[in-house]
Symmetry: C2
Subunit: 123 residues, 2 copies
DNA sequence: TCCATATTTCGACGATAATCGAAATGTATG
DNA sequence: CATACATTTCGATTATCGTCGAAATATGGA
C-alpha cells in the first residue's frame, strides 16, 4: 500500500460518523447492512450518510451492492488489513520486543464478542 | 479507547506529512528523532512540521522531550496499539475465520526489516 | 552578553470538508 | 403506469484545515 491510498483510507475514517459506520460494517461481517439501517442506527440524515459511505467506498474500505431497493454495504477486510499493515511496516526500529505487545490486539479482536447491532439480523 | 480520541488519532494520521513523520518515528523506535531531522528528511518547512507534530502530540500518538537545543519526538506504541485495537474491536460479526488473516499483519510487522532513515543514527 | 542554532507561535490567506434542503434516480407493488 | 420507498446527487453555506512568512522563545557557545 502506498502513501496516497493510506491517507485516503485514514481520512475516510477520520470522522465520527464514518468511523461509526465502518465499525458497524466491520462487526456486521459479510452480510453487510443497508444504508438506511446504518443511518437510523447512527441518527444521521440519509443524504449525509450517503456521501459519507461514498467516501469510504472511494477509499476502498467498503463496497456497495444493490439488493432490491436497498443498497447493502460491506466492509473490505483486505483493505483494512493493508491499512493496519502499512502503519506497522518496519516498526519498532529493530527492537522486536517493542512491537511484540501489539500482538495482543488480536487476542482481544478474535474474541468477537459483538456489542452493537441490536435487532438488525431479525429485521 | 472511545470514539472521540480515535477520531483525533485518525485525523492526525490523515495527512501525508504527518503520516510520514509518524511512520519515521515508529521506525525510529525509543531513540526518537529531532524535529529538524524529520523536517529535512520530509522536505517540509520547520514551522509547518512543528504544527503537524503538535497535532500528533495532542492526539497522543507521539511525545516530545527536549535534549540540548533539539526537541526529540518519539512514537507512542501504546497509543498505536489502542487505535488498532479499536478498529478491530468486535470485528468479523462472529465469524473468526474472517479476522484470522489479519493476524498475518504481525508476521510481517515483527520482521522489522527497516527501510528509511539513512544516516540518522550516525549523524 | 552577544550571536547562531533549533524550534515554536502568530496571523492571514486560500483550499478543502461537513451539513442540509431540495430534487433526481432506481426499484418494487398495486 | 402511478405511487411509495430507498438512496443518491446537486447546490449553497459555513466551518475547519493547510501553508507560509515573520516574529518569538529557548539553548549552547564565544
Amino acid at each position: 500500500m502506498e502513501m496516497t491510498s493510506a491517507v485516503a483510507s485514514l481520512s475516510a475514517l477520520a470522522h465520527g460518523g464514518r468511523l461509526s459506520a465502518f465499525r458497524m460494517l466491520v462487526q456486521a461481517g459479510a452480510a453487510g447492512l443497508p444504508a438506511g439501517e446504518i443511518a437510523r442506527c447512527l441518527k444521521m440524515l440519509p443524504n449525509s450518510l450517503s456521501s459519507h459511505l461514498a467516501i469510504l467506498d472511494k477509499a476502498g474500505l467498503i463496497h456497495a451492492r444493490r439488493e432490491g431497493r436497498s443498497i447493502i454495504y460491506t466492509a473490505d477486510y483486505g483493505a483494512m488489513q493493508e491499512l493496519l499493515g502499512f502503519l506497522l511496516e518496519d516498526c519498532c526500529g529493530g527492537a522486536p520486543e517493542i512491537c511484540a505487545p501489539l500482538g495482543e490486539i488480536f487476542a482481544r479482536a478474535v474474541a468477537c464478542h459483538g456489542t452493537c447491532l441490536p435487532e438488525l439480523e431479525t429485521a
